[in-house]
Subunit: 226 residues, 2 copies
């Protein structure tokens, strides 16, 4: 039996949310593995990444089927295009979580370089951005999406700070180089995850309001106001 | 006057190719700035990036207009979805070129760390992947796209080699840390550009054959055979 358009869109939304939930879990487990210095937390991340990859393809296929069969217009079409973009960003967030886990496993085999201060701050802010961007999608909340855009600059600032500090470590103590480099890669991956959350927020605004705010003054201003 | 579907698709194809040409130029200028140790080569890259950002939005809007007005099916629909994905990958390649330029400018202010050997090899292979992926799109050549998939593993291998070498530099000579780190970031950005070329190649196969080869054994085997 042919499903109605609404049923199809609901199914797609649910799958995307399952994927979003999984990616949030992956990021959290990678971060816990780092902060608790226990790689067990991050054990399941590579496996979950396979499920995420699978969901990405499934969601794209569902979207294509609806585009072909139902030829949706206006908000439904914007919804589908937004889903295909968000889908892609979530998959890349999953990859970043896997990258973080690879560094975490290496780090946990050596004594800690120093007490982490900025990294926990950065990771909790990034996780909040991811959560809010998905929340904005579910509740079609363009205002919440704009708040996410406004957070990205703070993350870039934290990343630069962490970068400078780790650079100093590496210069002052050759024994710290390998660990500092892994911490740097983790910070870089967190910064990328924040970028993807920003992309999702832009897609939500486009889906809800039909306006493309990428590379716009609005996007810049929101960011500068953070 | 309403344009025909074919006219619209031709216009979209041309815009995407202009964007692809620009991104290829940006990458080349960034790489020349590095290899010739002359930042002048890379001067125009940030400006070109703005044009790329603009084209990205224009192309997405054109695709949406065609989706709404013409409700294309089969290969035309696959073309449009592929274009929207390729569009996104090209824009991110442009961002990576800008990142490379930022590191190049820093590096050119200091004496060279060492003669570059692997970086020129890596950059010319990456540029070839980018060129081939766009060529495969223009000529609807799924075989050429498969060759691009097959090159990605070699790039990952080069990246790991460069990473190890630079790590050794940093550990042995604290004065090298900052320069080695910039070289590492450049290699990382080249590796990302190769990832985006791989994505484009996958989109070309999907567009031409209607098959999704992402995360598949085919994609793995092609990669392993390189």
């Amino acid at each position: 039996m042919e499903r109605t358009l609404d049923q199809q869109l609901t199914k797609i939304r649910q799958k995307l949310l399952r994927m979003g939930g999984l990616v949030e879990q992956m990021i959290d487990q990678a971060v816990q593995g780092l902060l608790q210095r226990d790689s067990v937390y991050a054990d399941k991340v590579p496996e979950q990444d396979q499920e995420v990859d699978h969901l990405e393809m499934e969601i794209d296929e569902l979207c294509m089927t609806v585009l072909v069969r139902n030829q949706p217009t206006a908000v439904d079409l914007r919804f589908l295009v937004a889903v295909m973009k968000i889908n892609n960003d979530l998959e890349r967030m999953g990859d970043s979580a896997v990258n973080i886990v690879q560094s975490v496993v290496q780090l946990n085999e050596e004594p800690p370089l120093k007490p982490y201060i900025d990294l926990p701050r950065m990771s909790s802010q990034v996780q909040e951005m991811v959560h809010d961007s998905l929340d904005a999608f579910v509740s079609r909340d363009a205002e919440l999406a704009r708040q996410v855009l406004g957070s990205d600059d703070a993350i870039d600032g934290l990343y630069k700070q962490i970068f400078r500090e780790l650079l100093t470590f590496m210069i002052e103590d050759p024994k710290s180089v390998s660990r500092a480099l892994h911490l740097l890669l983790i910070a870089r991956n967190l910064e990328r995850i924040a970028d993807h959350a920003t992309n999702i927020a832009e897609d939500v605004i486009y889906y809800v309001e039909g306006r493309d705010v990428r590379h716009s003054m609005e996007s810049q201003t929101a960011a500068a106001g953070s």
